[in-house]
Structure formats: structure tokens, C-alpha cells
Subunit: 210 residues, 2 copies
Amino acid sequence: MTETPAPAPGSRAAKPQQILNAARDLFLKEGFGATSMDAIAKRAGVSKATVYAHYTSKEELFAAMIDVECRRTWPELSTPYHGQTDPIEKIREVAQRYVRFIVGGYPVALLRTVAAEASRTPELGRVFYESAPGLGRLRFAELLQVAHARGVLDIPDPLHAADTFLAMLRGDIQLRCLVCMPLPSDEVITAHAKECAERFIRAYAPKASS
Amino acid sequence: MTETPAPAPGSRAAKPQQILNAARDLFLKEGFGATSMDAIAKRAGVSKATVYAHYTSKEELFAAMIDVECRRTWPELSTPYHGQTDPIEKIREVAQRYVRFIVGGYPVALLRTVAAEASRTPELGRVFYESAPGLGRLRFAELLQVAHARGVLDIPDPLHAADTFLAMLRGDIQLRCLVCMPLPSDEVITAHAKECAERFIRAYAPKASS
DNA sequence: GTCTATAAAGGGATAGAC
DNA sequence: GTCTATCCCTTTATAGAC
């Protein structure tokens, strides 16, 4: 959780950005209900009236923050697979990167905060899902599609297989992150990702071979 | 989400229970921050002072509600496996029951609400984890241990395998539940559980056979 | 656009009567 | 144990000067 202290020392024209950063830090740390517009204004180094000049309500500011953070945080998984490298190797690589991504502070805090607010603002949940995890699973399904086409794996339903693999990788870890339980060590996480990749490959191995 | 309308028509001596029910309905629906003690008192059909007579603070009432709901909602997964039936069949059965459990209104709302509060009250997250998902994975690992001992599966690390299987079953579904996205149909959910069970069995099949 | 000051409402928690 | 009434504080949102 990269803390952006308070009044950005740089360009004074970037007030909206300062406000968004402050909103992100506080909303993700304290939650929607527990964060006051006063606190956001103070952290951003502006007055409350200035905040309202840019975002007409607390909800709108929250939605804007979620939107910006989704676009900013997920570029890793959003880049399409071009098929040059070995799909199996690529799967192993994705496993490591995805697990590390999952345990990062921002993704956990974002999910937590969106989940908390989603029942009151379902639109928010949809925006979050489609611009983040929903996109990631589509990208990964593309990779599995290639593996299937080349015959190295047997995957009749790539989208479901993608969901299954990403879920395996989240495992117990994401749940523990969500409820603020201590995380496993880095070595354990690496071994977990490796184990998941190999089990997945076995589960979807072509029936002929092996 | 079984709504318990308002003042329980029955025994008038059960005020604490009425308060807990009201707290559950409102906390799980609106979240901790957005629920007022006034609203809880009104829904329970008592005065606010009575609420404070039983629970000294909003946080204490919240913790009591979580504790009660965990004990009430999870009996299914908490019953140990006694080893009479075929472990493989038992795994298929658990798959179906677990997925249906996961998409239930209460478990989703509980997780959502606890996750939202956990960063401010980590103790709450621990209590929830250990009395609910943490217990479930231990129970399932016991079943896998039996399958391993009988040689029908090859599972060197039953606890990790349990995490993996339960995670597969949660798949994309739990995430969608958390952010209030529409759920798949009952048929799709059944097929999902079945597919997960078979893939899991393949991933952990003994190397000799197959 | 930005500030200071304030209005208007609602929240958690308690006092005191019964 | 339970209620009514209230204190005191924080919150969202706005008015008006610059």
C-alpha cells in the first residue's frame, strides 16, 4: 500500500489527482462508511468545498477512485498472449505472477472495499469485476485456447478451466488476505504456485499421452 | 437471506435474540458503518438503551452476531468424516454441497461484512476464519488423508490439496457473489461442481494407475 | 476554483424514571 | 431490564467571500 503522504509537493494544478489519491488511501484503509469527506480533503491538502467542486457526492468520488485504480493496477494480466513462447512454460510463469499479484496490498484492499459497497451499489461491483478479474480470466482463457489448439493440453472449455486455475492459485490465500490473517512466507507462496501449475497441467493433460 | 421481519411475535423473554437477529439482518445487508444502533433497536422492537444494556458497544454487538452466525450456518462442513463410505464418492458429494453452500446468501454476506471490518478489527477476522472456513478445510483434509491412506489418491499434502479443491469449487463464483454479479443457473453450478471433482481426482490420481 | 464558516441531520452513548 | 429523552460529537453538504 504505497502511502502518498498528503499535499503532493509537485504540480499544484493536479488537485483532482491529489483528491483521488487521498480518497484511495483512506477508502481502501478505512472503508467507505468510516471515511469522511473532511479527512479526504485534509489528506489531499485542499478544502472540503474543493472536493465537492470536483465530485458532487461521496459516492461519485468513490466510483471514480475505483475506476482509476482498476485501470492502474491490472495491466499485468491485461496484456494478451501472442503465442510465441511455450504455452506450458507460460502457464507456469502466469502462476507465479498471479499469486504475487493476489497478495499485493492494493488488489486485496480493492476487492475488500468493493465487496463491502457492492450490495448498496451493484453497478460498482460490475464495473470492478469487468475491468479487473473479468478481464484477467478472458486473457488467460486465450492462452489455454492456444495450448488446446496445439494439443499440449486437452481443454474443452477454456473459460471454465481459466476460472479453475486462477481459483486454485487464489486458494486459501486470498481468503486469508480478505480477513486479515497472517500470510504464508514467500517460499511457501512460490511452492504453492508451482504445485498448482503442475496439478493443473496434470488435470488437463491429453488423455492419450502421460 | 431469511428476513426476520421485526418484533418477534413469540416469547417476550428473548430480547437478546431479537437484538441479535436485527443486528444480523442489518449488518449483513447494510454493512457495519451504515447500520445505526437506532435502526437495530427499532427493528428488534426495543429501545436503544435496551440494546446497550446487553451489548456495551456497537463493536461488541457485531462480534457477538458474527460468532452466533458462524456456529449456526456452518454445521454441514463441521461434521467429521467417519470413513464408512467410498472416499471418492464422498468427494463428489462434498463438491455439490460445498458449492451450494458458498452461493447461499448468508455465507456471502458474512464474508463480505467481515472482510469490510477486518482491517480495523483483525481479531474479528481471526474469529471468523477459524470458526468457519478454517474448520471446513481441516475437515476436508481429513477425508483426503483417508483417500491417501487407502491408496485411491496420491496426496502428499492433504491440507494444501484441501485448500486447492475448495478453491476450485469457489472458482469464479464466489468472486461474483462478493461483488454482486448475477449468479450462474442451478444446472451450470451442478455441472461446475461435477467438473471440478473429476479434474481434482485426475490431478491427484496415483501415478501407477490411470 | 478555492477558501472559511456554518447549516442541517444523524450517529453513538447515557441519565434518570419506572 | 426497559423505556423516554437528551447530550455531544461527527458527518454531509452548502453559502458567501475572494
